[in-house]
Amino acid sequence: MSKKTIKYSEAVSELNTILDGLEAEQVDVDEVSVKVKRAIELIKFCREKIEHTELEVRKIVKEFEKDPSKDQEHT
């Protein structure tokens, strides 16, 4: 699965489904490693997504704060 085609919320949702399945012991042992692998992948994706988004947000905020048209007096 490509990172670019999945949304964060879908990733979280899929992760939750996997976790729910694992917790309810509905997952066949044979599939466990596959599921876990997928879960790790999703976690990694989510982390990256979070880090990336946060960086982006910080960058936007920083740029906005630097904007000369913005009055700094009241900030």
């Binding site: 976790l19 694992l22 917790e23 042992v29 876990v36 976690i43 988004t53 947000v57 009241h74």
Partner: protein, 450 residues
């Protein structure tokens, strides 16, 4: 009866007249004073007159006697009268006190008086009494002030002149008027101003002028020039005085006297001494009128100029007021605008400041929210990661649990194997291959499941 015929003496007419004459001379040996009123006076060198006595109450002759003033005594008598203060003229109706010789004219048998002297003081007293009587009568009738109450015309240009056309009075008056060069119009009534016909003549003049309208005539002038003081007595006339008093036009009297005032003067509207003076009065009146007209003209011009000036001033003031009003108006509105602008600015400033603060707060909140969001996400992922780690089978195997596989699949029940079946056991660090030797069903063994 017989006695009547027993007279010795038989008179001829002349004897008789002479005898009576003697008797009169015996009775009146010297001159006597006789008082009476003159009537029927004729002056032909010798003056003949009748001396009469009238009834005390009625105008009726009760006694009469002829009197003669001969030429030899006439100048003396006239001189005596003239020398007396007051003076008068021997004429009809006046009362005189005469010193006479009583005599009889034999030829005619006429009894008469020969005048030798006169007591003028007596006559003057009588004249004064008569004057006073007329004045009192006029006063009683309210005629003394009647003509004076008329308004003097403001422009006396049309004059009814009563005088003698060949008199100095007429010429003096006309000459004086001509000097003024004003447009006087004089109607002349050529009148006797002395003598017995004066009364009738002056009355006729007054009557004719009073028949004119006020558009035709302004004033009547009775003028008489010079002459003796005695002539003035013609204007102490009751009828003339009454006519003057009742005249519809003001009467100006100019009778040429210096000291005495006649009754005509007393009742006239205005009395002056001479005709010249009379003309001057009229000229002055016209001058005053013209002056008034000139003054009025000036006053009108002045008032008009003043009026225009005032209106101009008022207009200028109004313009100034409008100017200052406009200035004030615009200043006020500019001020209001500025105030409004300031208020708007202040308001905008406050509003923007508030908005800015709000924005900043929002922005801060956004940052906080973002931080929180990211933290939550991270925590959530961490939580799930922990969960995944816990659920990872390798983790369980590490703790001593193992998985039994048969034919590559997890073996979950003893029922699925028989003795001698080969099974594989998956451990944490490797795999065992075993053969089933025995199988037993145990209830407790359910706990072995992963």
């Amino acid at each position: 009866m017989n006695n009547l015929f027993n007279t010795d003496k038989i008179y001829s007419v002349s004897e008789l007249n002479n005898t009576v004459k003697q008797l009169i001379r015996q009775e009146f040996p010297s001159h006597v004073w006789v008082c009476g009123e003159i009537q029927d006076l004729r002056d032909r060198g010798i003056i003949n007159l009748n001396l009469v006595q009238k009834h005390a109450a009625f105008d009726e002759i009760v006694a009469q006697v002829k009197a003669v003033i001969f030429e030899n005594v006439k100048p003396q008598i006239i001189r005596r009268i003239k020398e007396t203060e007051g003076s008068f003229e021997l004429k009809k109706d006046i009362e005189v006190k005469l010193l006479c010789k009583v005599d009889l004219y034999v030829k005619t048998g006429q009894f008469s008086l020969t005048v030798v002297d006169i007591d003028p003081v007596y006559t003057i007293g009588k004249i004064a009494q008569g004057r006073q009587k007329i004045i009192e009568e006029l006063r009683t009738k309210g005629l003394l002030e009647r003509n004076k109450q008329l308004r003097m015309p403001s422009l006396p240009l049309r004059i009814g002149l009563i005088t003698s056309s060949d008199s100095a009075a007429y010429h003096d008056f006309i000459d004086e008027l001509k000097k003024s060069s004003y447009g006087f119009k004089v109607f002349l009534y050529d009148s006797y101003m002395q003598g017995a016909q004066s009364e009738q003549s002056v009355l006729a003049g007054l009557s004719i002028f009073n028949s004119l309208t006020e558009e035709e005539l302004d004033i009547i002038l009775i003028a008489r020039g010079g002459g003796s003081t005695a002539d003035l007595s013609w204007f102490d006339n009751k009828k003339i005085a009454e006519a003057v008093a009742l005249s519809r036009f003001p009467v100006l009297s100019a009778l040429g006297h210096q000291i005495n005032t006649t009754i005509t003067d007393m009742v006239a509207h205005t009395s002056v001494k001479t005709p010249t003076k009379g003309a001057q009065v009229l000229v002055e009146a016209v001058q005053i009128f013209l002056q008034q007209v000139t003054d009025l003209e000036k006053e009108i011009c002045f008032q008009a100029e003043n009026f225009v000036e005032r209106k101009k001033k008022a207009l200028e003031n109004a313009v100034l007021k409008i100017d200052s009003g406009l200035l004030r108006y615009f200043r006020l509105h500019r001020d209001q605008l500025r105030d409004g602008q300031l208020q708007v600015n202040n308001f905008a400033q406050r509003f923007l400041t508030a908005q800015k603060q709000q924005l900043c707060a929002n922005f801060d909140m956004l940052k906080l929210r973002a931080d929180t969001l990211f933290k939550n996400c991270r925590d959530e992922i961490q939580f799930r990661q922990d969960k995944v780690r816990l659920l990872d089978p390798r983790h369980i195997l590490k703790r001593g649990y193992s998985v039994t596989l048969q034919n590559g699949k997890a073996l979950k029940s003893v029922d699925n194997v028989t003795e001698n079946d080969i099974i594989k056991t998956l451990l944490f660090d490797g795999m065992l291959e075993s053969r089933v030797t025995e199988k037993a069903r145990e209830h407790e063994q359910e706990n072995d499941k992963i």
